[in-house]
Symmetry: C2
Subunit: 408 residues, 2 copies
């Protein structure tokens, strides 16, 4: 592959940066939040809603799409962008995290992760090469390497061993990635060129690898748990391989927030200043601003979408539980400071009614708002960096979101 990828830092405010990340499907302003489209759809909304909310990049889950409807099917249909009706940037994870957390009877060896599908019990093997091939077929603008997700807390020796294995897997992912053809389409991978590439461990042996986005970039992932020494080791190993950019993995998995921020404080500065830094799976609006102020540029989290479906709404005044009886007669908008379609059109009383009645539209409207809130927050973060006022914004968000629920 020949990645179409670049990153420019345009402004700084302490360790925080704002900039532009250019991908094969366009530019993303950073710091950026990526709504999560687990199974080829951001739950509850359409591509049009995502554009309205201001999303510039979304995330897809390789594990889910690989098992259903299948990476080869999506490749035949032109790749994930065409499949989802979304022509802006997409990042996919490697599938490793879900294989660990959703797959049954999983066995991890040097080869990869063997597990049974949560859908039908069928046995699968996800290898570094397979994860790379699957993502070549899906065709996101950014693919992630397969890493080992170690359950925390773990003894330091285990963390180190796992970090070393993740680094070996990262090398195999990168080798595979670099051997992929630079043209769109399936093979031919036999005889000459970059060698004979067939799926190592995806939909089946002998399946030719299909490249649907020749401009795809690949990010490495820093592991190492909460041990500074192993984080530094992971940075060394991963930078030595060389990727378009780097993510910090293995955080937001149950450790205290202070621990996460402490890891960011010593890990982020070790990463190249001219590449975006992606903190996987984070987080609350406050977590995000705290991480930005420690030099992070990219985020993804199911929180805005999942909470919306559960009736938990983020507002400029704090969190709000729409089911609360006190909203039954509330004629005001969810968030007076928001101009999303939901806040422009519907009252809290109506949204409470829809939620209590179990209407699908409750999920839709709450999701439309929560995504806008997250994406507006990112816009405010970028603006604050430009104007050097991130600390003020951070304090303000801390005051808003450290309070108990606004309706409790």
């Amino acid at each position: 592959m020949a990645p179409v990828f670049s990153f420019r830092v345009l402004h700084r405010d302490g360790p925080a940066r704002s900039g532009e990340m250019t991908t094969a499907h366009g530019v993303v302003q950073t710091p950026a939040f990526m709504p999560v489209g687990t199974r080829g759809a951001v739950k509850g909304v359409t591509s049009r809603d995502l554009l309205d909310a201001g999303a510039e990049i979304i995330l897809g889950n390789t594990y889910h799409l690989w098992l259903r409807p299948g990476d080869q099917r999506i490749a035949r249909l032109g790749g994930l962008h065409r499949f989802m009706g979304w022509d802006r940037p997409i990042l996919t994870d490697s599938g490793g995290f879900q294989a660990f957390s959703l797959g049954a009877r999983r066995v991890i060896t040097e080869e990869g992760i063997r597990f049974r599908s949560h859908l039908d019990g069928s046995e699968h093997l996800l290898t570094p090469e397979g994860a790379t091939d699957i993502q070549a077929g899906l065709g996101p603008d950014i693919a992630m390497v397969l890493d080992e997700c170690l359950a925390q807390p773990a003894p330091s020796s285990e963390v180190r061993a796992s970090t070393e294995r993740s680094a070996r897997w990262a090398r195999r992912c990168r080798d595979r990635f670099l051997a992929l053809p630079e043209e769109k389409g399936p093979g031919p991978f036999s005889g000459g060129g970059r060698g004979s590439l067939v799926h190592a461990a995806a939909t089946g042996p002998g399946t030719p690898v299909t490249v649907t986005n020749p401009g795809q970039a690949q990010f490495g992932i820093i592991q190492g748990g909460t041990v500074p020494e192993w984080r530094a080791l992971s940075v060394d190993r991963t930078l030595a391989i060389g990727f378009e950019a780097y993510a910090i993995g293995g955080l937001s998995v149950g450790e205290p927030p202070e621990t996460m921020f402490s890891v960011l404080e010593h890990t982020a500065p070790l990463l190249p200043a001219d590449r975006p830094r992606y903190l996987m799976g984070v987080g609350t609006p406050l977590d995000i601003v705290e991480a930005v102020s420690r030099g992070i540029d990219l985020f993804d989290c199911v929180m805005p979408t999942r909470n919306a479906r559960n009736g938990q709404v983020f507002t400029s005044e704090g969190r709000l539980t729409i089911k609360n009886a006190k909203y039954a007669d509330d004629a005001g908008p969810l968030d007076p400071a928001c101009t999303c379609y939901t806040c422009r059109t519907y009252s809290r009383a109506y949204l409470r009614h829809l939620f209590v009645a179990g209407e699908i539209t409750a999920s839709v409207l709450n999701t439309v708002h929560n995504l806008r809130f997250y994406l507006d927050t990112m816009a405010r973060v970028r603006q604050a960096i430009v104007f050097g006022t991130l600390e003020t914004l951070r304090r303000s968000l801390r005051a808003t979101f450290s309070r108990p629920l606004s309706d409790s």
Copy 2:
């Protein structure tokens, strides 16, 4: 109340008419289809989606809104239009049909329908006066009278007795309607004016009646089962009371289609030619065109929305079951003849994937399409009447929708 209501027939094609119905919230081109917003939301879509689909009028269910969130609450919040974020015309039914079909332990007396709520078992009494008051509070542009919904088949004598009772209830509804104040807002209804009006049997005795839409019109309903004599009797009785327009009820409740069309053929011509005729609860696209060709102007049905959520899609090529395995690799749109957001953006393969995965977005996108299909069909019906080609359109739809499912 002082109804803002008028109707103009602009074109005729045999018994079929096309025209304009003017209500307090604007004009509706007829023949018109009303998407059903049972509990204050058309399931799966937002008001914006309804506008995109071309909806000019929607229907709300009085029974559901009365029990939850409550007609008085909706009245306090400004009425159903404001509550739902929909400023175009709305029609509400009387609540009778759901009290019959959903209420438990129902007892029908001359007074009204006594039943227990399907939500919490609480006891309620729905009288003609109560149904009128509730709809005054909800504030649709068109309110319906309370009628008795007789289970079919029934002996002719019972049908006659029920028809007579419905006529007496219609009189009580009209009397109550005409006594409602002509100004927006709750009471005062004591001493002078049109008398002391308090809820006869709605949220509780002593509750003042609130009028949220002084321009509301009220439609009578023709009953009489499948007996031409009792239909004619019902027409006589109902016209003698005098309403802004008339609906034909008690059809599409399990009788053969020929029976329904036969009733329409002898009933529709008995109704005033200068008022719209509304066939309640109908139906398939073919049913609708058949009924239009017998002089009907208004329709409502849950079919496009309910079928969408079940993965049954209406297309110009017939019905389609999106779950069918043959669509797994189908890169084409649901309906090549449709330009709705779903058909412009997503493939059958993607929509099948979303449906199989159980994504909310499957319901949303299928509903967006089915509503557009229904509303486009109505536009074609109106055009055919203008150009005198309704028979051609009817034959074409019959050929399309009499076929077995396109994918069976």
